[in-house]
């Protein structure tokens, strides 16, 4: 390594200035219990064995690292796709829900709640609840329920109850508020499976650790394919930032690797309809964590916008706030229109329909610079079946 960075969370959950646990007293016992047990619990050999076995036999890991030949030719570089879209349930989200359902079982919890934006985390949570036979309630913004209907149907098929979040912008932020309120009301029997690297400590670190399997596999897969275990750049989309955290994790302290976080610009960063937190955000507190968020001078959270329900979030995880603030990671923002174009291009160049979220990461390739010998890994966080309605509208628009 060129420099010895030491990026890790401290005992109170801070990455530099970002993180912590800004929670009402009602949640204190639950958060304290998690904080005091999660590292030991997840490091336990029995836990690891169960986790690894489920990832292998149930999720289908390792996910392939695929050399995208035609995309590479188009961009004049070497592009590899980390195929999280091939996981059971179609996205990286299940890596975390498998880990957290094992945590919930060890804590003796009987009831699981989750928030979801695009529905991928909701589906992944409903899936693991079905797997172990626990009750599952998923909060989802009313707007997202409408725009991600296939995932709502999947959650119901899996036996989960989908409860609409009706407050605020009726999207991911509001679903998260509702899930937190549910947890306050049901502190003893319920575990809250947060789907991203957001929320109070220890969630950002715990979720990042469960997702870190992505970069753990990348290391040996690159070694096998290229004889070196690191790429020159990793590109991942960031809403809260869990797939990016997982894809970056084992390279956080390796400065040879550029970390590229791709945010949703919505209708344009300056349009007033955006979710580009690193540009539009300032330091503040959201969902129990001190991080970057879009807010007014008075500290009121600004309602974000993106066509992608999974990126439609006014904050980012505290790890990403730290990486961007310290210039360890660079942020690129991509508009709805460019993401849709990238989804179509990826579909027709590689035969892979990416999720709208992931399409933002593909579009970022147009804004990046790289050499012909560079190795770039795009975290293909999810597949686009859930977004066919948006893609169809886009295709019809192109035809008209």
């Amino acid at each position: 390594m060129t420099k010895n960075l030491q990026i890790d969370v401290d005992e109170r959950g801070y990455y530099g200035r970002f993180g912590g646990a800004y929670i009402p007293e009602m949640l204190h016992p639950n958060i304290e219990q998690l904080k005091n047990t999660y590292r030991e619990m997840t490091a336990d050999p029995d836990f690891k064995k169960e986790f690894d076995a489920l990832l292998k036999d149930y999720v289908g890991r390792p996910s392939p690292l695929y050399f995208a030949k035609r995309l590479s030719e188009h961009y004049g570089t070497n592009i590899y796709l980390k195929r999280e879209d091939l996981n059971h349930t179609g996205a990286h989200k299940i890596n975390n829900t498998i880990g957290q359902i094992l945590v919930a079982q060890r804590l003796g919890k009987k009831r699981i709640i989750a928030e979801t934006g695009a529905g991928q985390h909701g589906v992944a949570t409903a899936t693991v609840c079905a797997l172990v036979g626990l009750q599952c309630i998923v909060y989802m913004g009313e707007v997202d329920i409408a725009r991600q209907a296939p995932n709502v149907a999947r959650m119901r098929m899996l036996g989960a109850e989908v409860r609409p979040a009706l407050s605020g912008s009726k999207t991911l932020k509001d679903a998260t508020n509702e899930a937190i309120r549910d947890w306050i009301n049901n502190p003893e029997d319920t575990h809250y499976i947060i789907g991203s690297v957001v929320g109070p400590h220890p969630y950002p670190d715990m979720v990042a650790r469960f997702q870190s399997v992505i970069s753990e596999e990348m290391k040996w897969q690159l070694q096998e394919k290229l004889g070196r275990d690191y790429p020159d750049a990793i590109v991942a989309c960031v809403g809260g930032g869990s797939n990016a955290a997982g894809a970056f994790y084992h390279y956080l302290n390796d400065e040879r690797v550029r970390l590229v976080a791709v945010e949703a610009a919505g209708l344009g960063v300056d349009s007033g309809e955006s979710a580009a937190t690193s540009v539009l955000g300032t330091e503040g507190i959201i969902h129990g964590s001190r991080t970057l968020l879009m807010q007014t001078e008075d500290g009121q959270v600004i309602e974000p916008y993106s066509i992608s329900a999974g990126l439609d979030y006014p904050g980012i995880g505290p790890l990403h706030a730290f990486l961007i603030d310290s210039k360890r990671a660079e942020a690129i923002s991509v508009t709805d229109e460019d993401a849709l174009a990238a989804a179509l291009f990826t579909a027709r160049t590689e035969g892979i329909i990416p999720a709208l979220e992931t399409a933002h990461a593909f579009s970022a390739l147009d804004q990046m610079e790289y050499g012909p010998d560079d190795v770039i890994v795009v975290c293909l966080s999810g597949r686009g079946d859930k977004d066919l309605a948006a893609f169809t509208t886009y295709l019809n628009g192109l035809a008209g």
Binding site: R12, Y22, M26, I184
Partner: protein
Amino acid sequence: MNRLTQLFDKKKDNLLNVYFTAGYPQLDSTVTIIRNLAEAGADLIEVGMPYSDPMADGETIQQSSMKALANGMTLETLFQQLTEARNHTQVPLVLMGYFNQVMQYGPERFVKAAREAGVDGLILPDLPVFEYEQEFREITDRYDMQVTFLITPQTSEERIRQIGKLSTGFIYVVSSSSITGKSGEITEGQKAYFARIAAMDLTQPKLIGFGISDAKSFRTACAYANGAIIGSAFIRALKDVDDVAAATRSFVHGILSPASVGA
């Protein structure tokens, strides 16, 4: 001297603390509500700073906050209104809100402005104890701003004692593990919890809140603590009323009915 200290020195029982959301139902309701609450018999008043993402609050306070923000409420406006209210009443005022609001305004600037506007205490449910001790307490102490922390049925005895040491204002005894706005009978389990807290000999006054909604639940809570806090029930009483002053007085009179004060 801080008005809360004066109040608690003078009155030990049946303290009525009423919460309302500033800027609801109308932007300029704040002064009217404070004056009428005080005149009708509220001992102290909790002024909610409306917030976009009030995670400890139920639907009633969420909706009142949304309405207040849509009405144009800001902290600057609120401080002006409180300054105006101080021309009419010396009732102790406590601001309730979320720490991000304080952080964005600037912690010291906020505490100074609030004290100058006549605020006596603060309740910030998401301010962690550690961050309070490290970054905030020096400021609130310097300005004699009293800070209240919450305890719940799940809070351990050790932590209650720690919170007791940190709270410079009253202790907010959350009646059940819930967000605000739940109502109904106070259960035997809750009474046992109140009795447990009462037996702990904490030095600060204790006010019971969450789920206190009428004369009966107020009376029950007062049997176990120095007083009680009513919030969502009052917000509901203000919905769609033409005469905010009359509705406010009538609500307080309903709580302090002869049966409750005379007992």
